[in-house]
Symmetry: C4
Subunit: 254 residues, 4 copies
């Protein structure tokens, strides 16, 4: 490897948008993108693997083994090509975060994606009644593009940890433009359905689609189960250091 | 190096099975494979060393020094070539786990091994009366192949940490098929003879051999001593951080 | 990358001095150099990025995203070319510290800088009434060059952690000469204006300039806000391990 | 770099012995070799630096800066060429330990050194009245060579952490032979003069020299001061994680 994006077929895209939602606080990013993929009939076209992910292998419910990997989806919405990156794992080291982000940006260059939307959670550290969706952008002009979707730019998010920030911060230097959507979430919920729904409502407006929310609870529960698998480790190992490491792996905002 | 598999002689194998049992919870994997090697007169044919193992050097009972390394064994059972990997050490970083797993899979490719059995422990976090052996497989069809050996596929193991999972999860992508056998163990026993015996009984059926269990206690005690050597460090250094690191190195399920 | 210094235009400098002030205890180095840049109308000519910095992306007050990067400034003072390196981030690993320091020294070689001044804080661990500025040098002869600027060489600083030490210790081996200026600071203040002012007064004499201190409070407050952004993470993640890591990243003397 | 051994002049040695004593428990190895170098008029002929050492720069008593580096000494004793490696720093990661050890072994190959003596401390975790010197060897035949020097081979040292073990464990595979001498020490003394003297008395017999012990207290005090410099950091940073890391860096047996 060390970080490899495998795409099954050759891609022929026109001005695609890249949407990212990986594991993070409240699993908001992962759940949003996963739900979009299901609901809008996206096709899974590839995977992302890396030496920098935690060295875990998931045991699926049917007892088959799947390496920790992120997935790449493709769909066409209102004549616009969309590529989505979704999954349960971020890097386990600083160097790994940068390497994976640069590799995804190389991929964006290869497929001609100039616009990027990243999705994550913002942990408030307290109960959240009506979760807002906070935005952070590559440039002031982008804020205007996204001004009519109910995104709040009145917040005090100071930084984004992990890929959701890096793709935009580093991407900006390659001429990409885009927005990070951060669903407000308590921070202590493993999977937050309310925050996920809030971000989905924004995405509905951005993509000009109608989403069916009836299966959102299933999706959230599904992700809850994956998280439980990954968290089980804690109990079974009884290793404080280990569980801390895992928490920090998965606890990122991005 | 950085990760090197040294084989003494040229190998000429036919469709060999690769069996792995390295350090982990209850030392089940290491003890099973070590016991199989002894009991079935396997020949030690090589070693695996890596920059990614902990930087420890073992002082043997005769006061000679041995670098931390894993061993490669060869044997022929019922006209089937078998290569086994056994040892006291796994990688000390995420990147190291992936590198070692890929290097072992390269070796599997080189010797034409298409079938892999990995052995580890599953820490229940509680007393275990009658340890079961849980299975996780590369694909549903493999589950059928292993259905008559007393392996339980009715469990809630969510993930495998370390090489026992990676060899199968990553190996699957290279066309390998196989099974992870996880002996149920409390998780707080350094070396668990009951769990080791449970897995050995499964291996006995898989390999169609008769094992002599009379020396199992010796084997378990021997591994207990190695673990004590590696654990001694804790006491002698009095460094909490150090001992935690070591625990997590050795505490993996795989 | 892995560590990249990007300079916008070709540089044509004569015997420039290199001044470094990155994140560290009391944010003394970063604030001094940032203040010098503002007050002496330095021009921002480039950036330093690295895979070894923490994987954070800053959300600016106008909600635009900036990758964690350090800045390179140029100015001419009394006919002397000066290049300054300033910023909020140091490496997150031992290897990263060495790599970034060597890369900056390569850059010093490229632009012909033979003299280096590094600025940091020295955490006393107690209240500091009248902060002194401690000096450490590449060689005894340098101490004489800097003897008339109010720098104290009567201190018990035992070592410098991070770039402020490495640039001089490693630079010395490349024939560079220079001094580390360490502003005495309690160590528990995020941004220490008194210590910053003490070092600025020394720099005023070294550079033979008149500084306007009226905006120092603004500058310190600005850095306080950046630090708060970077510290916010703590609260929002509620991850002890994470916050510890961050503390050690930013808590270095250098 | 990443790990570089710089030798000032070309070496022309005949069958030299390599002696290693780096930072570790009770600073026994570093102090022994440093004392031998002083007492037997060894010449400093080079340095070892590495990206893998902690990123610290030492402020000497005369306020000059020295990068963390280990030193290479040469001397001739009873017509036998001896090369010694001494210093205050070991690697800060598993990978770094292996890399530095292999680089030193490459150097041993280059100068034709087939025999290696490594010196360290063995932390007993309790008061030590009469410190013994424990030995661990590359092979049984070596134990005989060293049987008449008062070295105890009746001990329960289970493993050696760091370079003192790796040089012999890995060196053995390159055909080197040698011994690790471990001075018994409580483990909570920063610099242990009694243990150092015990090992020096063994070295006196091995090298067939007469050592003048009158300056041993000065030597131990000197190392105590370096350690204090390196420990000062703890207090000044008030960072628990940082100090733990440092402890584990320096706390190794080897």
């Amino acid at each position: 490897m060390t970080t490899e994006i495998r795409i099954n077929d050759e891609l022929d895209l026109e001005n695609p948008i890249l949407i990212e939602g990986l594991a993070g606080i409240g699993h908001v990013g992962r759940n949003c993108v996963s739900y979009l993929a299901d609901n809008l009939d996206a096709e899974k076209i590839g995977t992302i693997e890396s030496h920098h992910l935690p060295p875990y292998t998931i045991v699926e419910d049917d007892k088959t083994l799947t390496p920790l990997q992120n997935k790449v989806y493709q769909m066409e919405v209102n004549n616009r090509d969309i590529i989505m990156i979704e999954g349960n794992a971020q890097a386990s080291s600083a160097e790994g975060h940068y390497e994976i982000a640069h590799r995804v940006l190389d991929f964006a260059d290869e497929i001609g994606a100039e616009e990027i939307i990243t999705i994550g959670g913002y942990g408030k550290g307290d109960v959240v009644e009506e979760p807002e969706v906070f935005g952070a952008v590559t440039g002031q002009e982008v804020q205007k593009d996204y001004s009519s979707y109910g995104i709040s730019f009145d917040h005090d998010v100071g930084q984004i940890v992990g890929i959701s920030g890096l793709l935009l911060g580093l991407g900006k230097q390659r001429g990409k433009k885009g927005i990070a959507l951060l669903g407000e979430t308590p921070g202590f919920l493993m999977s937050d359905p309310k925050s996920t729904e809030a971000v989905l409502q924004v995405m509905e407006k951005i993509l000009e689609v109608d989403l069916d929310y009836s299966q959102l609870d299933d999706k959230v529960e599904e992700s809850q189960e994956v998280l439980k698998k990954l968290q089980n480790l804690k109990g079974s190992q009884g290793e404080k250091e280990q569980s801390q490491q895992q928490s920090s792996d998965l606890g990122y905002i991005g």
